[in-house]
Amino acid sequence: MVCEMETDQTEEMDIEVLSSMWPEDVGTQADNQFNVEKPAGDSDTLKEVDIAEKRTMADLKRLPELMNTTDQGTSQLTNLVKQWEYMQDHAVKLLREELKILTKQREEAEAKELKIIEEHNFESQEPENVPVLDDTSHLFRRFKHKKRDALIGSKRVEIDEEFDTVAYWKQKALSLEKMLEASTERERRLIEKLNESLKTMESHSAPVEELTQNLKRAEGFLHFILQNAPIVMGHQDKDLRYLFIYNKFPTLREQDILGKTDVEIFHGGGVKESEDFKREVLEKGKASKREITFETDLFGSKTFLIYVEPVYNKAREKIGINYMGMEVTDQVRKREKMAKLREDNAVRKAMESELTKTIHITEETMRAKQMLATMSHEIRSPLSGVVGMAEILSTTKLDKEQRQLLTVMMSSGDLVLQLINDILDLSKVESGVMRLEATKFRPREVVKHVLQTAAASLKKDLTLEGNITDEVPIEVVGDVLRIRQILTNLISNAIKFTHEGKVGIKLKVISEPSFASGMELNADAEEQNGLTETETSVWIRCDVYDTGIGIPEKALPCLFKKYMQASADHARKYGGTGLGLAICKQLVELMGGQLTVTSQVNAGSTFTFILPYKVAKSDDHSDDQDFSDMVDHHQPEPDDTTEGYFQFKPLLGSIYSNGGPIIGNNNFLPHKVMLTSPLKLINGFVAEPSNNTGQSETTQVENNGYMDETCSGPCLSKETESCSSSQASSGGGTLEMESELTVSSCREEETTETLKQPKILLVEDNKINIMVAKSMMKQLGYTFDIANNGVEAINAIKDSSYDLVLMDVCMPVLDGLKATRLIRSYEESGNWDAAIEAGVDIKILENEQACVHSTNRLPIIAMTANTLAESSEECYANGMDSFISKPVTLQKLKECLRQYLH
């Protein structure tokens, strides 16, 4: 058993170096008594047991007391007593058995003797032997009885003599005497033995000594087990004062511990907890375990597994607790480490999965983005090409039918373009690509501009109005582009379905709506909008109302669904993609707001969206300031920032605006507007499609028929009526188209002018140069004659009149410089003598000599490679007017020709 334990221990030591519970460097020699001794090795364990025997428990005085008073103590003592008693019983039993045997033997002997005597009596009734003396006979009998004992195991007395002779009797008496002696001797020995046995019994039977020895052995075993165990044990009384402690902390002396409570001994974390725990156990009367981490000055941070059991006295009253603590700091640390590792692992795994998810989402988003970009590019650009071309086509001469077809084509194109834009917007929002931007903007300005743009393309007798209450901040922060988009969409929608009356926007501040409070979406949206909780945000309600055809109640639910319109009839009649409202709703919700609608058939509809905005901090403008300014008319100029009311009322049949459909802001800037007396603004309403504006008078006259038709038949224009942005773009297209037109007409003029073509002579020997020059001239719309050298040039000039000569400098036969000199000399003298002198073969016809051009100086332009031999100075010196450096480019040629031909 001991050996086993030892090996167990060493095994454990191999597994982990089990350090002493207490630090090694604490403790004094004096206190060494209870110090934990390091195991001195396996071989010494037995010795240690011996040593351990000599040790004493702490507080020996108290221990017996404890033994006497506590249950456990009593039971232990009882056990020992019982054991002793049992042993004594056993001894007694053995003795008794022996006694029993002896008695039996005696009885047998007596019986034998009796038999012998009877036999004897029967054989001889001798007179002398019949004593008279009763006493003697009695004695004799007694003696006989006694003698029987001695007969045990003895042979029958053999008598050789003849019966009833003297000799016989003598012999018999002698042998009986011997037997008696032997019997007496046996008796004496037995008595001796008995005495001896009694003596040894006395010496063996001392219970205290045996008990003490047992106790010593138990104690030794306990010491052997416990001295190296990382265990502290103790007993504490009802007040949790230590009465006994084993394996206490080395630096503490017994007097430091005994009679004191934990709290009095230790300070720091865990002490109170352990004390409470002990008290709890004491109160509940139930043994239990708990792990407590101590953080004391004495031994630092250590975790103990504590076992506490209540102790009862014989009367079943609690008198204290037994306490056992085992240090498990390392184990706890390991456990915690493991737990932490496991936790980290789990966290990492979660993060990984999150990451892969994110990566997946990112990839998806990227793909969506890619697709959107591709779509926008692949579809939009060719389509705008189609629409643009159609617009340009509409400026050309077309007959009535063609023009009608073209108008339909353009409006369809616009519609498709708008549809694609809408789809892109929608898919942007849905794929999460749509990023909201937080920018500072002025709501009043936005409302005004939206109305202005709508009014600019208005083709109905409608009044557009905007009404913004005073408490709406001057500047707020939000995604102005998207808000504008929503407003524009709603307004154009309202205009589309309203034939008379008015369409308007109303803005007012409201308290935070119920749907927003506590909604996470809202928080997200606020974040996206750049709003944080610390900054003041404001909820603005925006109503877009009209007096239009209204929406039947049953159509309301699907109103915001994609590609849905109130009815198929409406779709046919009013066109549109059916995406506008869906986009508006998505955008509003993306910004953390809500879009709702109320409507009454034939009375009008009101679309309401509520959005949160951050209030921009504008240092120079405060609401009050602006408001007072506004009221007091202190500001000399109308200010967009403070106006609360706008109205745009179209005048049908007004003069054509010369600037196209886009009208400068200044035309629309309302003067100081009071809420009480709004000033009506008049916009230059464009009655006819913008395509016709800006065209020349003649075109208008030509196309009058068409124009009248478009005016009288508004059903056609209805389809082109769409949101203002597309109108604006088509307006832009018109302007471009105009300029195109003027350019082309300019060209026509040029070509008509060139009917009287200038005559140009190119003097050049290089075929390639000629070819290039020819191509350039053709591009510029000129033709020319060619001379391959100076001589040819002179002959050509002599024969016909030229407006310009382009002369190569370096040529065979006669170079450009010489030729020019000769030409100049002809111009001065009026004859070609110099040329003839120079050996130029000139066929002179006398009558042609007096040519009228002789007085005019012919522009001669050198074409020079700009080398040393062909320097510009030389060119000028030889009478040339200018020079073009080679290689000749179209630009150079063009400039040169422009300079000398006009």
């Binding site: 020997d765 290089n766 390639i768 140069n769 370096c810 000749v888 480019t889």
Partner: protein, 156 residues
């Protein structure tokens, strides 16, 4: 179909740019390309082939002139070089033109050896350019056949 065209167009652009970058061509070639329009769809090719014919003729005549060491007609050579220089300048054959400049210098100092060297170089350069441009025109042709348009190439 479109991708084929796009690929060819990309190839064409890259090739043309490389010709500029390697100094075979200069801006005058761009000028030439500008002159080509619907009316004269093969203008550049025509001019260039004329130029190459010219080159071959001139080089032949010049090499004949430079044939005999003791009796070189430098005037004739000079005239040829001048022609060649003008032509190459006109079509934007930059390398040919550059060789012509040094050729002309050699000619001016009547350096027959130099002239022969330059002649060789010119011969090499124009043939080189000829192959390159033929490739380019082939690419153009392929693009047109595939139904694409010759892309505008901005060299700068």
């Amino acid at each position: 179909m479109n991708t084929v065209v796009a690929k060819l167009q990309r190839q064409f652009q890259d090739y043309l740019v490389s010709l500029y970058q390697q100094g075979f061509l200069d801006n005058q070639f761009t000028e030439l390309r500008k002159l080509q329009d619907e009316g004269t769809p093969d203008f550049v090719a025509e001019v260039v082939s004329l130029f190459f014919d010219d080159c071959s003729k001139l080089i032949n005549s010049m090499s004949r002139s430079l044939e005999r060491p003791e009796n070189v007609d430098f005037k004739q050579v000079d005239s040829g070089v001048h022609q060649l220089k003008g032509s190459s300048s006109s079509v934007g054959a930059r390398r040919v033109k550059n060789v012509c400049i040094s050729f002309k210098e050699c000619c001016d100092v009547q350096n027959r050896e130099g002239c022969l060297r330059c002649l060789q170089q010119v011969d090499y350069e124009y043939k080189m350019l000829k192959t390159k441009l033929q490739d380019l025109f082939n690419l153009e042709k392929q693009i047109v056949q595939a139904g694409g348009a010759i892309p505008q190439v901005n060299i700068n």
